[in-house]
């Protein structure tokens, strides 16, 4: 068999062809939803989206604490809240859920306790019953607390060996010092001493409906679901409100901190700057400016350091939201020998975004992408549930989602340029680089990097 050459493969007799125009776009059908606050202070959002016969649930409970042991106790609580109640042991929890195709999980971060799961829509009552059972009757039996505590200590060791976790912890300390927001992974030594009594006390004090939000999305009738939730969670009440994270200080621009990781074959670059909340009128412009910088594949950063220079597989900039604030995060992992040039290019593109504002073509691309990707991500039950669970703690809901494409359509090129100048100036950023110092002699010569 004979083969063509690469050059022969790349051309045909007919030659290049024109790109087809876009067709007509049908808009999404409206959402039927109910958004209400129950007597116990719990906000409930229920959305009818019958794409498959399933129901998705997301619960977000503000769960901040300033005590030094808070994150360790909270981590054990999240690991054991679904391991048995007064009515059910651990096996019964899992069995009842499994029989309706269901699952529930729990996790915690410095801001919130998050529970989430799903079941066949026909098993909605069971899903609700198990969730309510955990919220009102979690038992935290000694043997479950001891077992999960031991496993957590090992999982924390595994987590802290991940370069992404090492970089995140370094960035958090560098941005926020000792603020409770930095305690994303507790110390293994603290976890090892958490008692079942401490966990039970934290449940009583902090697993509270007032200020929390419950999202249901699926093949469900919203009014019926609200009534069922009201009945199932009638026993969950307190006069107190769930605890929000204390305000974070603004991120201030400054030197990038070098964090040594001897033997690393790749470095983690993480930059960050203060941003604005979703409710700020400048937010849609910032969202589009961020996409242009590094928020998707066809961004300046990815086209530069991946597709032109081959420095990285993965580079990205994104917005990280807390209840009362937001920051910009830029991250990339690069081989040691190209770490310094990659940081140089990241900074160069930050400056260029303000100095050479997004072109008409770039503006059109990021606008279409932002609108289209929102349409795609909210077309599935899981996508819609997760979007709402992220928005709800900010006081937003389905209205904000439905109106957002229009907001994006209205942003002008000048507003995007202004957001680029205001938020992407290189001097607004600080950050960390994690890597093997012996292989990074050029890093210090860039300036603005300290150890």
């Amino acid at each position: 068999m004979t083969f063509r050459t690469a050059a022969e493969i790349g051309r045909t007799e007919k030659g290049p062809r024109p790109l087809p125009e876009l067709g007509d776009q049908r808009s999404a059908t409206g959402l039927t939803s109910v958004d209400t606050v129950l007597d116990n202070g719990l906000r409930v959002i229920a959305v009818h989206q019958p794409t498959v016969p399933m129901a998705e649930v997301r619960l977000r409970i503000p769960f901040a604490g300033t005590d030094r042991r808070h994150s360790a106790i909270a981590e054990v609580l999240a690991a054991t809240i679904l391991t048995g109640t007064q009515r059910r042991d651990r096996v019964a929890m899992d069995t009842d859920l499994a029989l309706v195709g269901g699952e529930l999980g729990a996790g915690v971060d410095p801001e919130r306790l998050a529970m989430g799961g799903n079941a066949l829509a026909s098993g909605l009552d069971t899903l609700l019953d198990v969730l309510a059972d955990a919220l009102t009757g979690a038992a935290y039996r000694d043997e479950e607390v001891e077992g999960e505590r031991a496993r957590l200590v090992e999982r924390i060791a595994v987590a802290r060996s991940q370069p992404s976790v090492i970089a995140r912890e370094a960035l958090q300390r560098h941005r926020y010092g000792d603020h409770p927001f930095t305690r994303e992974t507790p110390e293994a030594a603290d976890v090892a001493t958490v008692t079942a009594d401490e966990v039970r006390a934290m449940h009583r004090e902090s697993v509270l409906p007032r200020g929390s939000v419950l999202v249901f999305v699926g093949d469900i009738a919203p009014d019926t679901v609200i009534a069922k939730i009201g009945a199932a969670l009638a026993g969950w009440s307190s006069d107190k409100s769930a605890v929000e994270l204390p305000d974070l200080p603004d991120v201030v621009g400054g030197d990038v901190l070098f964090v040594p990781r001897p033997g690393a074959v790749q470095s983690q670059l993480r930059l960050s700057a203060q941003a604005i909340r979703r409710t700020d009128p400048r937010y849609p412009a910032l969202q589009l400016a961020n996409l242009t910088y590094g928020g998707f594949f066809s961004s300046r950063l990815v086209e530069n350091i991946r597709e032109d220079k081959g420095y990285t597989y993965h580079a990205r900039s994104s917005l990280e939201f807390t209840v009362r604030g937001a920051t910009l995060l830029v991250d990339a992992d690069t081989a040691s020998e190209v770490t310094a040039p990659a940081l140089l290019e990241m900074r160069y593109e930050l400056g260029r975004l303000g100095a050479v504002p997004p072109t008409a073509e770039e503006v059109d691309t990021v606008r279409q992408y932002a609108i289209g990707s929102l349409l795609i991500s909210t077309a599935s039950q899981t996508g819609l549930a997760s979007q709402l669970a992220a928005l709800a703690p900010l006081g937003l809901g389905t209205d904000w989602l439905v109106e957002h494409p229009d907001r994006l359509a209205q942003v002008t090129a000048e507003q995007i340029a202004e957001a680029a100048r205001e938020f992407f100036s290189p001097t607004r950023f600080t950050g960390v680089v994690v890597g093997d110092g012996a292989q990074l002699p050029a890093l210090r010569s860039l300036g603005g990097v300290v150890e």
Binding site: Q266, D308, G372
Partner: protein
């Protein structure tokens, strides 16, 4: 359910097409599956199938470098590609106004990809960064998908590292690319799938217009990758410079996923009986009761089920404390398998597994990208995309005795055991 009616046809150039209209949301998914994965890459060129997947995004006759990404994203869409043992897939999901564009983009690179030395060098660098990120610079990198096959399998296609060796990636040249494309990327060796908000007749016309003149080439002969099962317990140790805790992977051979589908599905149910949920056998015994391990998982296929033809791999993996010996973990696994082999699981155990599988399939199909890719891969591997919608019934029909027989098939005297030892961990 909407989306279950399928239209299938084949173009004169041999391209197989699956259409799955579903008007629920105004979005559409387009995928192309080529019948070549990393098991087909030539010796001396490990990682080539995956590298070539990257090159298919680097431009074609009508599209400059970067244009593919920009056209998809400026149409409001997302894209990706991935390389599997036996196929390579490419996809776009877009607001449905972008349907014709996605077809145009896929047709242009099927007809005339523009592969240059500069883009090849660039993407070799990008792939090396991908491997550093996912394998070399992290704990448990490549565990078990890169590390286990060379223990369980003897022949190059099954045993080698699909991500590739750096020196072999660096030696890839333009002639390798041309030969690989001409051999494997023929329309007769591919499946085009369109799912979501589409009109069948119009879509047929668009497909004819854009793919009709991709020149026909013959599909390559597909070799069998079959090899004898291991005649004993094969063992190997891997020292991981980043891992803080030891880990263990056990690999077994399984029934042929295509020719023995019911047996394969019994293994799928067995994997769930073993490790799905707190009430499952190995979670109960190894994690909660004794406890010997931090995490345990059982799975069909190194990347999940329905990704490969025969031979496919059943894996059990665990991360455990250094105080626990691997022999204790192995003995406990063998004991639980022996119990299942002797006494079939209860009806309730199976009812739980089946309900979770049904729910999981619903959720997967609710994401248009997953549904599009599943239809395409089932057309490619099974010649039957409708099987995607029958899996629920087929899984429900698996009997307790069939699961028991599957457990019996996971024999201690015919398997691979890979041990990952930490080399000190992070300081």
């Amino acid at each position: 359910m909407p989306g279950n009616e399928l239209t299938r046809f084949t173009l004169p150039n041999g391209l197989r097409v699956v259409l799955a209209p579903d008007p629920t949301a105004p979005v559409v998914g387009v995928s192309v599956h080529y019948d070549v994965g990393f098991r087909s890459e030539p010796e001396g060129r490990t990682g080539f199938a995956h590298l070539f997947e990257h090159l298919m995004f680097q431009g074609s006759e009508s599209l400059e470098k970067l244009a593919h990404f920009r056209h998809v994203q400026s149409s409001g869409g997302t894209f990706n590609g991935s390389t599997h043992p036996d196929y390579t897939d490419y996809f776009e999901v877009l607001p449905s106004a972008g349907l014709e564009r996605a077809l145009f983009l896929e047709a242009d690179r099927m007809r005339a990809p523009k592969i240059t030395a500069e883009n090849l060098a660039n993407q070799i660098d990008v792939v090396k960064e991908e491997i550093r990120l996912n394998v070399l610079n992290r704990p448990y990198g490549g565990f078990p998908w890169i590390l286990l096959p060379p223990v369980l399998y003897q022949t190059f296609p099954n045993a080698h590292n699909g991500y590739g060796d750096f020196t072999e990636l660096e030696s890839a040249n333009l002639d390798d690319c041309a030969q690989f494309f001409d051999t494997y990327y023929a329309p007769a060796n591919a499946v085009l799938t369109v799912a979501g908000d589409l009109d069948v007749e119009r879509t047929r016309d668009l497909i004819d217009r854009h793919f009709g003149d991709v020149p026909a080439r013959s599909a390559p002969d597909r070799p069998s990758f079959g090899e004898p099962r291991p005649a004993g317990q094969l063992e190997s140790e891997h020292v991981d410079p980043h891992a803080p805790l030891p880990a263990l992977a056990i690999g077994y051979r399984m029934p042929d996923p295509i020719a023995e589908l019911d047996g394969y599905l019994a293994n799928l149910v067995l994997a769930s009986v073993l490790t799905e949920g707190d009430a499952s056998r190995l979670q109960q015994r190894l994690v909660l009761r004794e406890p010997l391990v931090t995490d345990v998982n059982a799975a069909c296929g190194l990347f999940g089920p329905f990704e490969a033809r025969d031979p496919d791999t059943f894996t059990i993996t665990a991360v455990h404390s250094p105080d626990v010996t691997q022999d204790r973990v192995l003995a406990a696994v063998d004991d639980e398998l022996e119990k299942l082999a002797t006494t079939a699981p209860s009806d309730q155990e199976l009812a739980k597994v089946v309900a979770r599988w049904v729910a999981g399939l619903h959720r997967e199909h609710d994401r248009l990208v997953s549904r599009t890719l599943a239809l395409g891969s089932f057309e490619l591997l099974y010649g039957d995309p409708g099987l995607v919608y029958q899996l629920t019934d087929r899984l429900s029909a698996v009997t307790p005795d069939a699961v028991s027989a599957a457990a019996k098939g996971l024999r201690p005297d015919s398997r691979a055991v890979l041990i990952v030892s930490p080399a000190g961990g992070e300081k």
